[in-house]
Symmetry: D2
Subunit: 317 residues, 4 copies
Amino acid sequence: MKIAIMGSGGDAPGMNPAIKRFVEVAYEMGHEPYFIFDGLEGLIDGKIAKAIYKDVAGIIHRGGAIIGSSRSKRWYENEYRKKAFENLKEHNIDAIVVMGGDGSFRALDLFNKEFSINFVGIPTTIDNDIYGTDLCLGVDTALNVIRDAVDKIRDTASTFARAFVIETMGRECGYLAAVSAITSGAEVCVIPEVDFNKPLATKILQKEIKEGRRYILAIVAEGTKRTAEIAKWLEDDIGMETRVTVLGHIQRGGNPTVKDRMLGFGFALKALEALNAKEEGKIVVYKNGEFGVESLKDALKPYTIDPQILSMLHFLD
Amino acid sequence: MKIAIMGSGGDAPGMNPAIKRFVEVAYEMGHEPYFIFDGLEGLIDGKIAKAIYKDVAGIIHRGGAIIGSSRSKRWYENEYRKKAFENLKEHNIDAIVVMGGDGSFRALDLFNKEFSINFVGIPTTIDNDIYGTDLCLGVDTALNVIRDAVDKIRDTASTFARAFVIETMGRECGYLAAVSAITSGAEVCVIPEVDFNKPLATKILQKEIKEGRRYILAIVAEGTKRTAEIAKWLEDDIGMETRVTVLGHIQRGGNPTVKDRMLGFGFALKALEALNAKEEGKIVVYKNGEFGVESLKDALKPYTIDPQILSMLHFLD
Amino acid sequence: MKIAIMGSGGDAPGMNPAIKRFVEVAYEMGHEPYFIFDGLEGLIDGKIAKAIYKDVAGIIHRGGAIIGSSRSKRWYENEYRKKAFENLKEHNIDAIVVMGGDGSFRALDLFNKEFSINFVGIPTTIDNDIYGTDLCLGVDTALNVIRDAVDKIRDTASTFARAFVIETMGRECGYLAAVSAITSGAEVCVIPEVDFNKPLATKILQKEIKEGRRYILAIVAEGTKRTAEIAKWLEDDIGMETRVTVLGHIQRGGNPTVKDRMLGFGFALKALEALNAKEEGKIVVYKNGEFGVESLKDALKPYTIDPQILSMLHFLD
Amino acid sequence: MKIAIMGSGGDAPGMNPAIKRFVEVAYEMGHEPYFIFDGLEGLIDGKIAKAIYKDVAGIIHRGGAIIGSSRSKRWYENEYRKKAFENLKEHNIDAIVVMGGDGSFRALDLFNKEFSINFVGIPTTIDNDIYGTDLCLGVDTALNVIRDAVDKIRDTASTFARAFVIETMGRECGYLAAVSAITSGAEVCVIPEVDFNKPLATKILQKEIKEGRRYILAIVAEGTKRTAEIAKWLEDDIGMETRVTVLGHIQRGGNPTVKDRMLGFGFALKALEALNAKEEGKIVVYKNGEFGVESLKDALKPYTIDPQILSMLHFLD
């Protein structure tokens, strides 16, 4: 088979190890691996090239993705999907391995139904909002980048009587914020999924400050859009000078962790095995420590955060 | 119940989060948590104190263990174990949660048989050589410290035509070395479990050097005691100037990763649940993404590295 | 002499090494070192204690300051300064070494004129806005924290066609932003001191994008209050999806760099030497690689960024 | 002029920023910049190419050197130097900027005398053993890599009663070891320049252990070849279990610090200015915070460590 790999949507650490493993295993299996550069935009513009070993030498430890990625508006117009199809046919490409999130998987699924170009999805997003998999590619690195930032703030927090608000990524999903709050011992965590009990938090934090609490760490998920509000609350109602950090794309950067490299390897292998087994339009997943394959429908059920994680947060309703 | 937590043997990142969670959950459950300081040595010397919330504030992100640890020769003499027992009785301590490796678990098991002091073990060693658990506390941090070191070497390796030998920890277990080699793309990996095919490696590496290979990374597990030999082989037979790095205790240091904090939390909770359930002499484990409890016998079967990991290494027999 | 050390204003990495060295050298010189905790607020409240060796063991590598710091409004009322004076007299303290910025130095200077309590100032602020010294304590660490963040963003920037805005600290001073922009190769840098030529930047960046530029890094000093405006400009006029990172207090955190430890040592020594030499109300400085002492008037002239640094920035008027 | 830049000898972080600045400034000045790849070996083999802007895009934050480096035995045979000269003449190259240490400078000096190929040297070695400059390119990064490693060990050291020996680079020069010992608060530091008073150290350390000291950090410069001996002494005479870390090439790796990027920029500019000013066979230096130019003779006087640094070490004779 001729199989192409591509990124789609936001990038995430671990894509390069996945790309490397994809190329190596594809050759071992007797396939011909291809790159589609710059996501769906590149697919429309015909940025496709055969992948050779040398392309993936020395990339295992780099963040980002050597093949790029993109979001595409043109994709939702017929003529451009047709163009994409023709570009693939020109290279006789049989199937696509796509690293992306739910939106990208649905886009490829429709494309498959329209033009019969099979695909396998690798859940790749630091938001960790894919139901079917315990971990998406990039999450472990993002969590550790956040941890490192919060540790830095914590080291100095006790010097000063201050509150610190740290805004994390995650779109509509509070996973990054919740796990970061738990593992950094933050007092306050605000996520989109559950209501934050401000009156209760006010009462308890004010009491603790009277008893000697010197600082407050608050982790706020960007999806709540409440960063400014929480900062104002800490300043005005709790009465602590407050400082805000918006981590932004730092969370997508940095060398992938060991876990994200192993995940990238495992996802790439499983994706190729799925294609060998003639699976159609599947998502590879990592669940209870094992790699598997799920249908789009099963993998993309609405995501909810593990109740055990939620139970470790304070002041939630 | 009065329950004491202690470290035993080598330290590992993640002990502090486990200690913090132990104290918090013990109080929530209505128990009285105690610290035994400095391991079995401290137990013999009566270094025991009640744990309060304040003791575990601000420790979640620190490497090491605030309660210390030790190896003890005196423990194997009857009189000192008797002393240890008396120290525990003086505080009316019912059970011990011990963070350590197989040796420590066996020591506590004998002690329990002798003096009826129940215990639960938390597998805590960067060697990852406990059969019953996929991950021991500290392994994820150690792997990422090694990764960071190898990434640094890799960044500059291509500047020079050179070979680099990196010795990792792991005692008789090659897990750290094997996973590090895979995730850092090392060409050579030498571990105690499997023979390294030197003639084959010589042939292939010499060929690759002729074709343009500029550098070689070799990861050697300390348990093989072959670091110097491999360096000499690379220098003399492969013909590359070779430099050796012995990572040593750096691998035990640094702020615990998010995974090791979550593991520490989960192990501590499960240990207390096991004591609530009146389990006797058990080990808590993390397997296929779930926390569980196993008997000493089951948990301490001879450890072997996952064949899938071995299959990703080069030049093994 | 009895000499107290205190922090005042914002904290900065390197204070702990300075505190450690202060205590050690004070004893070597035959003085009695004291701590004033929590800055001017603590001085008013009498938080003063004799410093012993043990207090400063194991702190050399920690961010923050074990003696705390603060900003104080009460200080500007007579009665509280009088209280502060009485607290000092109670301990017979002869002089104060204060780690802070220009505001703190002026506060101590007035206090000295009012109550004859001599002081030496150690320029301690990541803003680097003290005229008399090439480097303030904490600047080198802050610059390297920013660098690490920008390196992370850069690693992934090329994956995507995107613009990244990074807001750095520095109050009214653009030093941190300027040096960060130069050393991270940022295309855009906006600082309070010099006007940023938006029309020129627009023209050139648009041209470069047409020729293949894939991403833009923009460093914006918080003092300009233009972070949102620059992000909007990149999105609307330059036409790149834009993401914002506000680094915030991460910049004050993390283990101090080697340079900040050496600076802390050097400043502490020089401060004590100045007191030995009966200097009155002086600031210790680091200039052209040497430690020295300057009058308040000389050290606090209006700060301007080195023209050579400015000359390396793009698009400045 | 046509001016080529090359590396020679061991690599050091900061070479890439220097290369980038060299290319940019050379074009600004109206020169034609060239690369010589792989050091003197590459010069002999004619690996020379014109440098363009695109070559130096996205390299500012990378360790190593994109143009490579080498040590060369062939260089010391006439025929190969002649070949090198002919290669340079073929491209009409007028002068060389060489990043290296004293050996490389002397090699280029003889070459200049033989063939009239002018050169400027940029002191580039983590050993910091060049008399004429306060800092060589790469030293600041190396020191911070060592610091990070020692901080990791320190974080866990207090868990255990143990001694840790860390071997640092530096060839015959103890600078790296000495500054690392001071800034990490190591108890023991052994360097080639000064004798280490073992009997005194034994006496004092044994006394401190009796009084409660829990761990010992010892930094040993590789040039002393005493790493194993010091480890044995700590184990046998001081009576602490001892662990050894040999940092090796990690010290050359990692993203260059802000200081090393600024040094790289400054050295590259000064080197080109020196060639503009028709200087012959000079070394650029960084002294008391300023960049300057010195003759080979002046710059390469025997290096000695600053007595103030030595005075901060313990147990030296």
